[in-house]
Amino acid sequence: MTDPAAPVVEMRGISIEFPGVKALDGVDFRMFPGEVHSLMGENGAGKSTLIKALTGVYGIDGGTISLEGTHVAFGGPAQAQAAGISTVYQEVNLLPNLSVAENIMLGREPRRFGAIDWRAMRRRSAALLQGLNLDIDPGSLLGDHSLAVQQLIAIARAIDVNAKVLILDEPTSSLDSDEVAELFRVIRSLKEQGVAILFVSHFLDQVYEICDRLTVLRNGKLVGEYLVEELLRIDLVQKMIGKELTALDDLEQRARSVVVDESDAATFVHASKLGRRGGIQPADLPIAAGEVVGLAGLLGSGRTEFARLLGGIDRADTGELAILGRVTRLRTPRQAISHRIAFSSENRRDEGIVGDLTVRDNIVLALQADRGWFRPIPKKRQDELTQSYIQALNIRPANPDALVRNLSGGNQQKVLLARWLAIAPRLLILDEPTRGIDIGAKAEIQKLVFTLAENGMSVLFISAELEEVLRLSHRVVVLRDRRVVADLENDGLTVDALLALIADGSVEADDTLLAASVVASDAAPPAASAPLAPTDHAPGGRA
């Protein structure tokens, strides 16, 4: 394992206070060369704040920081970078108006005779992208890529420098398992070169796979530092939340046992041949009231694009959408909302929260917009709503007047969810709703989704985490290469079976279990060259 001699980073007694919140309270933290270290804790525990303290984004109110034995106090990320600390902050912090190559190289562009050497820059960034197995044109605009690709580009930027310390704050929150594998390969090789790597993630599997040591924070205080191999998961969770967690197991039982009663479950929405050029090929999708439908597929398989059509964010150019049997054209999200269809975007920072508004304003935003601005929601009602969601989702700090931009990433996500739940939707479209959310809160949210579905709300659920899709969904729709390739009852489906289907659609891949449960396999020929025949859902689907 690691050389116990000298830590490369050592932070002692770090305290940071924001108005009203003690974000860090006397935290000690250290990292050794050649180790992968994880910072663990619930949403709002102070992980990102500790990282920002180390890299000079925030000044510290107390404590000392040393790098390779010498005291440092960085005035900003630029200085930290110069000293050999390379950081990918939480949320993608790149520039959508510049090319991918520039986003990777900005600030250290190769130059010839004082001018930027664009050819060399492209070449170098292409090589870096290749190293992450990312097949995109370095000359393309960053803003044209999905959040996951952007996340990878941010990582490429960070690993390009010869850093002593590499910090990755929730780098895998939007990534699929194969991208994660790619990232881990890179992390391992950097580790071999003696780089100290800080890896923050809410996925315990990932932490246990890649990390050597971990530090647990709770409410801004240090709980302890542990060797990963000596700490059982159950103990880790207990240290993080300070109590035992049983909710997840409960849920599993419940999900399997709930069956949509099809006799009185009216179809709420029915998409027929709904499609959009360059987004998703025409596809059918009925969703019954009270049904949870999961969308599974690789990055760029069209899952978000499909959801955006149903949510009225993008306009479909083929096919039609029937809501309660009536054909309806959704041109704007507003129209969708008036039909009680809510779309919660995966990109919470740019398409979700309004950072400069308070928690309360963010939560009542959609409801108020739907009522019209001339009928303000009474203050008392606003407070009730806000309080109830703060409690239900455990939003921290539990202060309705806090600015959302000052909340931790996971808590921002909870506020966004609360906004859509507040309009009491009949169809709730959730694109990566649990991105960056800690396991305790994740269980709460999943439970909530379930309760709402039992009360008749339909849910379209997208997640890169297949376990989660399987846990929650009654039905799983699989997409590949921008078309729907299967529509399966979630009845004995396994992650492996789903993965096989997502990857190449060959049903005879391995599982006999799968063969039995693929209902639409005949409609999706393995060759996948012919356009998809209409999925005849109703008769076989519920068998």
């Binding site: 790149l94 510049l98 090319s99």
Partner: protein
């Protein structure tokens, strides 16, 4: 966690937003599935489409087409319009505005605005006129003006950066300050009789074939060339774009955001001073009330030239095109003869409106 690496024929990861990735490398390279089977014409069509709807190139291309169209219309309607000298006169008459627009482009690219430029043009005219009157040498006066206006820009930049004053407010204050200083220098017009200035005002540089330009044009062209180079090929220039794309992100990426933001106003101040000098070559006088509203002409030129007011997208050459569009409209109105010069303003207003709507429509198409 299951590893997909060993799965046979793992599908290549496509980027989202079909065909987006091939933007910027020209038509014909589109490899989106719906274009793959189509003919070459269709492919070029979609290439043009994606170029037009790109927030980066779309507006500039539209402006270029517009400029050519207006020029052709003028050529068809009026005799003698379609000549090289008419085009060159656009440069001669607007060289100061080109320089102003260059400075403004830097500012707007960062998402800021500079309302002081018109007043600074007047101020540098006043300084020049009054100092030359008392017998100072132009070799001292011109550099002095450039230094003073750059310092004014520096103060504005510091105000914006250190005290977090909105650029709109900070430059508005600078505008009043500069205009006020004009009156402190003199209430009346001061004419310039300095031989060097007079020489520069009447000098013509022949280009052969009855064509000629003024020294001002050469200065303006040089400024444009330097600006293009700085914005395209230096780290400073790329940081200007970065700030427009997202100041917070730029900061977290470790870019010198503070320095760049302040420098941009220094550049705008410098350009205003230089434009003021060019303007006095043109008018041979200093008058406290000149160039009122010129800042708005400069902003209009930059916006028509395709620079987004929110920053991050745009080119200096686009702004030059914007100035030329404004100039050609003015020329047409002069050729028309019967129209009062106020029509220029009305046309520019209408054009600006049409243009901004067009930008919106084009970029909305992408979604």
């Amino acid at each position: 966690m299951t590893n997909l690496l060993d799965a046979p024929e793992r599908p290549k990861r496509p980027s989202r937003g079909g065909g987006a990735a091939d933007r910027g490398i020209g038509p014909g390279s589109g490899n989106r599935p719906d274009a793959a089977g189509g003919s070459r014409v269709a492919r070029i069509g979609s290439g043009i489409r994606s170029l037009l709807t790109s927030p980066k190139y779309g507006p500039v291309i539209v402006t270029a087409v517009l400029f050519v169209a207006v020029f052709v219309i003028g050529g068809v309607r009026y005799r003698g319009f379609f000549s090289g000298q008419v085009f060159l006169n656009l440069l001669v008459d607007n060289s100061y505005l080109i320089v102003l627009a260059v400075g403004m482009t830097f500012v707007i690219l960062t998402g800021g605005i500079d309302l002081s430029v018109g007043a600074v043009v007047a101020l540098s005219g006043m300084i020049a006129a009054s100092l030359l009157q008392t017998g100072w040498s132009p070799a001292v006066v011109i550099p002095l003006i450039l230094v003073l206006t750059s310092v004014l820009g520096l103060l504005v930049g510091l105000m914006i950066h250190v005290f977090k004053v909105q650029p709109f407010i900070a430059t508005l204050a600078a505008m009043f300050l500069a205009r006020g200083l004009c009156y402190v220098i003199s209430q009346n017009s001061i004419s310039i009789t300095d031989p060097t200035f007079v020489q520069l005002a009447i000098a013509r540089i022949p280009l052969g074939g009855n064509l000629s330009i003024t020294p001002s044009v050469i200065i303006a062209v040089a400024v444009v060339a330097v600006a293009v180079w700085v914005l395209h090929a230096t780290r400073f220039g790329r940081t200007v774009y970065a700030i427009g794309g997202g100041e917070q992100s730029g900061l977290l990426m470790g870019l010198p955001v503070a320095r760049t933001k302040v420098l941009v106003y220094v550049i705008s101040g410098f350009c205003s001073g230089l434009a003021g000098v060019l303007f006095t070559f043109y008018t041979l006088s200093g008058y406290p009330l000149t160039a009122v509203g010129t800042e708005l002409d400069a902003i209009a030129a930059v916006v028509i030239g395709g620079t987004l007011l929110t920053g991050g997208y745009g080119f200096v050459l686009g702004s030059v095109l914007g100035v030329l569009v404004l100039g050609v409209i003015q020329t047409i109105i002069t050729f028309e003869g019967t129209l009062s010069s106020w029509w220029t303003k009305i046309f520019i207003g209408a054009l600006l409106l049409v243009f901004i709507i067009l930008q919106k429509v084009l970029t909305a198409r992408r979604r």
